[in-house]
């Protein structure tokens, strides 16, 4: 059996992440990759697929179920080891750090499994980076909206230009050692408390 003939199963309820891992594995030449994104009938699916390696999200609450499936020899005939090797602490740590765990059929050589685990770890990391960036972009947008509303309030109530309103927000933030968006948020909150019916 060539390395790329390993039968890899990816269990992940997050379809986007599962797709990212699947793509990575296929790019690396692993042709036999199956993705399961729902837990129903897991035991039967695993028996049918008879995978050599299972990659699963550490946060998946069904990990306990998975471990019991492995334990029941009538479902999976071969014992399963977790991660690459029990003693390979660095790999285990990197995997747990990334939020992935891998179950590997005992007897598979480390060097055949390691690239898959490495791939999963790097893809998990890439996915969380992507998520973080998305999150940052989203909050950036939110922040800009709040600042715009605060500027509008200042422009109306104090007759300032947009630039002057922004300068005032920035100066106040600097003086109080806070972020502009925090000052803007306080202003918007205060305005809505003082005049709940007003539209800014």
């Amino acid at each position: 059996m060539k390395p790329n003939e390993l039968n890899v199963l990816v269990i992940d309820e997050n379809r986007i992440r599962a797709a990212i891992i699947e793509e990575g594995l296929r790019d690396a030449g692993y042709g036999q990759v199956t993705v399961i994104d729902q837990m129903h009938g897991l035991a039967r699916r695993i028996t049918e697929l008879n995978p050599d390696v299972i990659v699963i999200d550490l946060e998946n609450p069904n990990r306990d179920e998975l471990e019991s499936i492995f334990q029941l020899s009538r479902v999976i005939q071969r014992p399963i080891a977790m991660f690459v090797d029990k003693s390979d602490e660095a790999s285990i740590e990197a995997a747990v750090e990334a939020g992935v765990s891998a179950y590997i059929v005992d007897g598979l050589k480390q060097e055949r499994v390691r690239p898959i685990l490495k791939m999963a770890i790097s893809r998990f990391n890439a996915f969380s980076r992507l998520n973080r960036e998305l999150e940052e972009t989203r909050s950036e947008l939110e922040n800009r909206k709040v600042i715009d509303r605060a500027k509008g309030l200042l422009m109306r109530s104090r007759g300032l230009s947009e630039e002057e309103a922004y300068a005032l927000l920035r100066r106040t933030a600097m003086n109080q050692n806070r972020k502009i968006v925090e000052i803007a948020q306080s202003l918007v909150t205060a305005a809505s408390l003082l005049d709940p019916g007003a539209k800014e």
Partner: protein, 404 residues
């Protein structure tokens, strides 16, 4: 106050995470100069892995799991110790409406008696056609798995031939029951109360009725961390003990329910948590049963890590063929629980503590004063079938269960 010990603890959102939550929220950890960080996890497997790679120093964990780790039954396997238990009792067996009706037809009653309701279940199973009944537990190495099997086996039901046992996450049990994917389950709280009140389930029996004053969750500690941080660990045991005293007071249960209800902890309505905390369990059909020993966080030396508890879990691992019985395995199991560390950490508090590290389980029919000061009482601790476990004669117990 400057904190001298930073400790990270993992927990699963269940009622028996109470001691850790209270230690943090009520300031018992801070009083011992501990900066306690609690991290919620969704599976016991993740708790174990993150203990192994030292994301967690300590964790709320299933009583048998550290033993399984030390026996090499799961990987990655951190060497673990258990210097403290996190209470006694707390589980129940919930069944579907259909199964309950069938059991009631065979004499099962709302009083949750393990013997009568076990016999009723056996009769139902004897007359059952089609696919075997399916029961959910939370993990293969769990008190839930072992007490369910004990109850079934002692009721004349073979848990491997007559029914099927599957593992499910506790929050999914109620839905699986309502959808007919399982016919019953053994889980911790609030998932039985949830199953009964929200998913039409009915209690069949409770852990306290199967084996009174029996062990459940413990404090699992990475052994290497314990070796290098003895002061922090001792301080944590003092803080958790103080938390157990607080949790033990009936007057605090309402506040406890609200603490645990917070989104970062159990994250469910306090109304769902309070029944089990008070031991007033909704049984089904509007009936409520008071079970005095349902939630025992402090009384009866509830936090003492008895070696006999570790050894009983071990006998069940052997019984259900998870491991072979050898003198070496038995020793690993017994040495996982560390009453010596418990005593050393708490000795300055002047508490009444058990002088022995093991006891014959099932020997106390009534509440019995122990220790020189008389301030501590143990029991009753009986198994429902009258069984006794003598930790000095593990071989005989294992042999007897093999035959039975």
């Amino acid at each position: 106050m400057t904190m001298s010990h930073a400790i990270t603890a993992g927990f699963v959102p269940l009622l028996d995470s109470a001691l850790l939550v209270v230690a943090k929220e009520k300031g018992f950890a801070a009083a011992q100069s501990i900066d306690l960080t609690l991290v919620r996890e969704r599976s016991w497997a993740s708790i174990r892995d993150r203990l192994a790679v030292r994301h967690f120093d300590v964790a709320h964990i299933l009583g048998p799991m550290p033993i399984a780790c030390n026996l090499g039954l799961s990987a990655p396997a951190p060497k673990m110790i258990v210097p403290m238990a996190l209470g006694l009792g707390g589980n129940a067996v919930t069944v579907s409406t259909a199964l309950w009706q069938a059991m009631a037809g065979e004499g099962a009653t709302d009083d949750l008696d393990a013997r009568e309701n076990g016999v009723a279940l056996r009769r139902v199973i004897a007359g059952h056609k089609g696919e075997p009944l399916r029961f959910g537990v939370v993990h293969p190495y769990s008190g839930h798995n072992y007490e369910l099997r004990y109850w079934l086996a002692a009721s004349g039901i073979d848990p491997e031939r007559d029914i099927e046992i599957v593992v499910l996450p506790p929050p999914d049990m109620g839905d699986a029951l309502a959808q007919g994917l399982i016919d019953g389950y053994c889980a911790g709280e609030p998932w039985n109360t949830f199953g009964v009140l929200k998913r039409g389930g009915h209690l069949a029996t409770v852990k306290a009725a199967i084996w009174r004053s029996s062990p459940e969750k413990v404090l699992g500690v990475n052994a290497r961390w314990a070796e290098t941080h003895p002061k922090a660990l001792a301080a944590l045991l003092v803080a958790l003990h103080a938390a157990s005293v607080w949790c033990g007071k009936l007057g605090n249960r309402e506040e406890l329910a609200h603490l645990l209800a917070q989104p970062g902890y159990v994250g469910r309505d306090a109304e769902l948590l309070l029944p089990a905390l008070n031991g007033n369990l909704p049984v089904g059909g509007g009936v409520v049963q008071n079970i005095g020993d349902f939630f025992v966080p402090n009384a009866k030396a509830a936090t003492f890590p008895w070696k006999s508890h570790a050894l009983w879990f071990y006998t069940q691992m052997v019984r259900w063929r998870q491991i072979s019985h050898t003198a070496e395995h038995q020793q690993v199991a017994a040495e996982t629980y560390r009453p010596d560390m418990y005593r050393a950490a708490l000795k300055t508090l002047g508490l009444a503590m058990p002088s022995a590290s093991s006891k014959v389980e099932g020997a106390l029919a009534v509440e019995t004063p122990v220790g020189s000061s008389g301030a501590l009482t143990l029991g009753p601790d009986g198994f429902f079938d009258g069984g006794r476990f003598d930790p000095d004669d593990v071989d005989a117990y294992i042999q007897a269960q093999r035959i039975g």
